[in-house]
Symmetry: C2
């Protein structure tokens, strides 16, 4: 087990896992610019208990004194012992942080009020002089503790209340939820159960559903579990699932599929952590607008059709049982609000996680999936847009593309005519995931194998190069190397698709910047989220024109910001309230109707861009 301090989050990992990977599993984000190459030196951590040695390459980044004190690079250090690891302030990521008035970074949810609290109440027994009703006695106590005047009351919390109070000497635990600008008492239980209060943060992705089990009082992540979204059998992407759900009788099975996902994740987590289902009292789910609709059982049909109208952007707080999610029967479900049909609760969660609404400086978030969603703003304004990028960076739409799972080629380098690659889990290659495809484009153009318009140099003398059915291709892994026995290649058609994807995303960023009248250099922090793989090479992403050419230390890959944002809302009623404000305040620019975007898109169909002045740092 590896425990990360000062956040006190742990992960149990296989021997040989890197500390960087262990940190991700424990949902601790640490800085990483070079993509785990051991070359940027940003992921400095200190081993404070257990044995681990800095590797030779990494030693260059530390003083003798630091080495003696146990400093290592997280990306280069493998786990072979139980470790306690201190993450120094300079290594912590800014996601999930807020800037206080004094400019000091703090955990966003430190000292915050979770959206459901269990409060232990010790009350005086009634007398003839003080014979207010039982629930009024409870409410009076809550008023003192919470400082709020009136409380909604669910019928179940009145059931057997008089017995609970009297059998327990007027000592009970009230579960109190933030509700509609006030508070609601969900349950009143005998004795003190306040120590066992858990919540779930769930990222309902189109591809993957991930749930975190969180201890509400401390914010500690007890466990994480993920699974493929079972809706995949009704369609790989959002559009095909909408089409299925809008057929007669189609909604219910698609809705039930994700409920089954979530219940299975809950089963796994409560078994692993040996906790009671009843003690999970709240859940926050984040997903794109379609996923949120399908989670709640709402028809998503009009999302797909101009003028792209969802049923709701702000979803009601419900009891989780209303959609069949099996936690405490009075446990609540909040669904992160969305902004528009194609800017969902996952983006709102991401914007929260990046601290954009509290930032005085301008920050940007780009979440790259089948759609690329971009949000830019600060504590005064927020704009966003969404561009259909195609599934190329998620592994779809290319001949050998795949999701970032075991066997995916996640890194590629061509140096001195020699191609090397790295797969997830060091397995035999099965395909290429998003980060591998970015590397691939970069290496091909840098080495002159393709020209900046994405066409292969047909005169190329390279055994990896070939033409099949008039389509040029380049072999990344040979038939002998691959798991399937088929070569893993990238074709000119693939390059074309990737060019369109990166072009759409860059055009969206550029259009949005132009819309707000800012230049790239005015973005102080730029966060990249998405399912490319474990690492995203920022430098190469800039070099192919996917990301804007700003100093690379301003760009951070933050992984699943949707899940982080959902957890923030679970742990902080203030954050949840902020999410509603983001949903209401964020201006969505509808690009499908926006001519400048079309022009930018065409201009971006080149490596790195037809206007090279936009990419001064790119040298190929």
């Amino acid at each position: 087990m590896v425990t990360f301090m000062p956040v006190n989050r742990s992960a149990i990992v296989d021997e040989g896992t890197t500390l960087a990977e262990a940190a991700r599993q424990a949902d601790v984000f640490i800085k990483n610019l070079c993509g785990g190459e051991g070359v940027c030196g940003q992921c400095r951590v200190q081993i404070t208990a257990g044995n681990a040695e800095a590797d030779e390459q990494a030693r260059a980044f530390f003083s003798e004194e630091e080495l003696e004190r146990g400093y290592v690079l997280a990306c280069q250090t493998q786990v072979h012992d139980n470790l306690e690891v201190l993450i120094p302030p300079e290594t912590r990521m800014e996601g999930a942080k807020i800037i206080t008035a004094e400019g000091e970074e703090v955990e966003a949810t430190a000292g915050a009020t979770p959206i459901v609290r269990k409060m232990f109440l010790e009350m005086p027994a009634p007398t003839l002089e003080d014979n207010i009703s039982d629930i009024e006695r409870v409410t009076r106590e809550l008023r003192k503790k919470i400082g709020w005047h009136s409380y909604e009351i669910g019928l179940p919390c009145l059931k057997r209340l008089s017995e609970k109070l009297r059998d327990n000497d007027f000592k009970v635990t009230a579960s109190v939820a933030k509700y509609s600008g006030g508070y609601k008492i969900l349950r009143i239980d005998p004795g003190d159960t306040s120590q066992t209060t858990y919540g779930l943060a769930v990222d309902v992705g189109t591809t993957t559903v991930v749930a975190q089990l969180v201890e509400m009082s401390s914010g500690r992540i007890l466990g994480v579990s993920g699974t493929h979204n079972l809706q995949a059998s009704y369609g790989e992407d959002v559009i095909s699932r909408i089409i299925y759900a809008c057929k007669k009788g189609g909604l219910e099975p698609v809705h039930q599929a994700v409920i089954k996902n979530i219940n299975e994740l809950i089963d796994t987590l409560i078994e692993d952590k040996n906790i009671s289902r009843e003690d999970i009292i709240a859940m926050v789910a984040a997903g794109n607008t379609t996923m949120s609709h399908l989670l709640l059982g709402l028809l998503p049909c009009s999302i797909r059709l101009e003028p792209y109208v969802p049923t709701a952007d702000i979803y009601p707080q419900i009891y989780a049982r209303e959609i069949g999610v099996k936690i405490n029967p009075e446990g609540i479900l909040e669904t992160m609000p969305s902004v528009a049909s194609y800017v969902g609760g996952d983006i709102v969660a991401g914007v929260l996680a990046c601290g954009i609404p509290e930032s005085q400086e301008v920050r940007g978030l780009i979440d790259i999936g089948t759609n690329g969603e971009i949000a830019i703003g600060n504590n005064e304004w927020l704009v966003c847009c969404s561009a259909s990028a195609g599934p190329a960076f998620e592994g779809g739409g290319t001949r050998c593309g795949m999701r970032a799972t075991k066997g995916a080629i996640e890194k590629i380098e061509i140096s001195d005519g020699k191609l090397t690659y790295h797969t997830i889990g060091n397995a035999k290659p099965r395909g290429i995931c998003g980060s591998g495809l970015i590397d691939c484009m970069y290496e091909l153009v840098k080495n002159g194998i393709i020209s900046p318009d994405g066409k292969f140099n047909r005169d190329l003398k390279d055994e990896r190069f070939g033409i099949e059915d008039e389509i040029p291709y380049y072999t990344i892994a040979s038939a002998e190397e691959s798991e399937s026995g088929e070569p893993i290649v990238i074709t000119e058609t693939d390059i074309d698709n990737l060019m369109k994807s990166k072009g759409a995303i860059f055009a969206a960023i550029k259009s949005l910047m132009d819309y707000i009248g800012l230049g790239f250099d005015q973005i102080e922090r730029f966060y990249v989220a998405g399912g490319f793989g474990n690492f995203l090479n920022i430098e190469k992403s800039i070099a192919i024109g996917l990301l804007p050419d700003i100093p690379k230390e301003r760009i951070e890959f933050i992984g699943n910001s949707s899940l982080t944002g959902a957890r923030l809302c679970l742990l902080s009623e203030e954050m949840l309230e902020k999410s509603f404000n983001i949903s209401r305040a964020m201006t969505n620019i509808e690009l499908s109707n926006y001519q400048p975007f079309m022009d930018e898109f065409v201009a971006a169909l080149f490596l790195p861009h037809t206007n090279r002045k936009l990419f001064p740092s790119v040298s190929y």
Copy 2:
């Protein structure tokens, strides 16, 4: 059918029923001082369609011109035709009225906003320029119509919303409920269903459960249905039901009994009126604190035990389905708030129905059942108390007492040594109900058969008088006359119980008046509610010292004020809000702990009272 104007309420009654009875069935209250004797002339009404003749006795009350215009006394006129009856202003009761600023009486709910409204919305279809979410489009329309900013939304109202909007050209009906200081959208249905909106007002009495089906838009009462409270099999009175419900496994059957009652009443009403269950969208229930607890499935145990603490005084708005009441699945249930363990929602409803909180003059309400509850106040203050009166006036605790149903002796007169009586439904006598017992006490003491201390004159020479097992008794109906073949008698023990009941009630009234420092003459209107029978003889009630000796025209018998108050709340969100204010504002004087009450009680165990000065008008 008899239709009463201008309130436009109808009742279908048996031929031969009096207009006064028909009015009660239609829930139209008309003045009645003499108890239906045809002697006070207060129940003047005008027949405007159909045939009915004023009887000879009644003719004395009208001018020739009035007789020509169809004036009759409601209590003396039988129904033999379909009639339309105009109730002139002077005949209308003040219950369920409010005094406007101009001093004009209006129906309290005229122009009011029902607690649930169905609102037909015609919206523009979305465009790219106006592509807010579907629910936001609905909400925007509601904001315009209702003038309120934000709306709670139940998940069911989002279900298939996009389809409902698009299949119906963006014309839908939203069901909007008053909820927690704001509004909640319960449902959105295709097309215009606003014309079919019904509600239920239910009086959950310990003995009887009565439901009124009301058209929400017009306030029209479509039907009334009543039944014995099935909880009777678990105990006749509140205390025995509490004891049963607090045994292991006891709560559920007692709770389910009243739910069964209500569902059967609903079945009857929707079948009779040929309406759809789905169109009943709201219900307001009023009952004493124990009945309210049992209705909602809350443990009533601590109500019975010092310091008399209920689970709740203000009950949450719930979906009726939460307790198994079968109306629209999103239909709501409001339970009238109570004040204390022995001052329930029925009294709060009655206080509302009597217009006490709007009155500048001081008004009183006394609701006589097993407990006598008294509320006194005006638009500035409200006090109440409750005294255990015993079941005597409800027909319990006396040898031949019975409820006010068919065969009950409801009137008794002894004149020139001759006893005459009248039974409900003119049936063979089966016992004596509350109003009959009041008459009985009065006639016995007036004719010297009992002395003012309630003891029989043992030297009496009267064939009706006898002594059995040393207990003197007086025969009201002989064995030959009675249905059972047993004589119907009143014993000295009965008189003793009745004396304690009337003593407790008067002592409660007197204690409360003394507490607030007012004399009886400062009460401008005094309303009497309860289940004595169809009529209560006010004069005789004063003469036995049950009611205070104030001018009898200030006293009105108003029947089931609990039901009236519940209906007012169903039809007026303002009235419902007022009921919460009454619950919070009313000061409850706990008599069980109050020495002046004990002194008053002892002083009141005499006919009319040990202090005769309190009853100057009483002449026997």
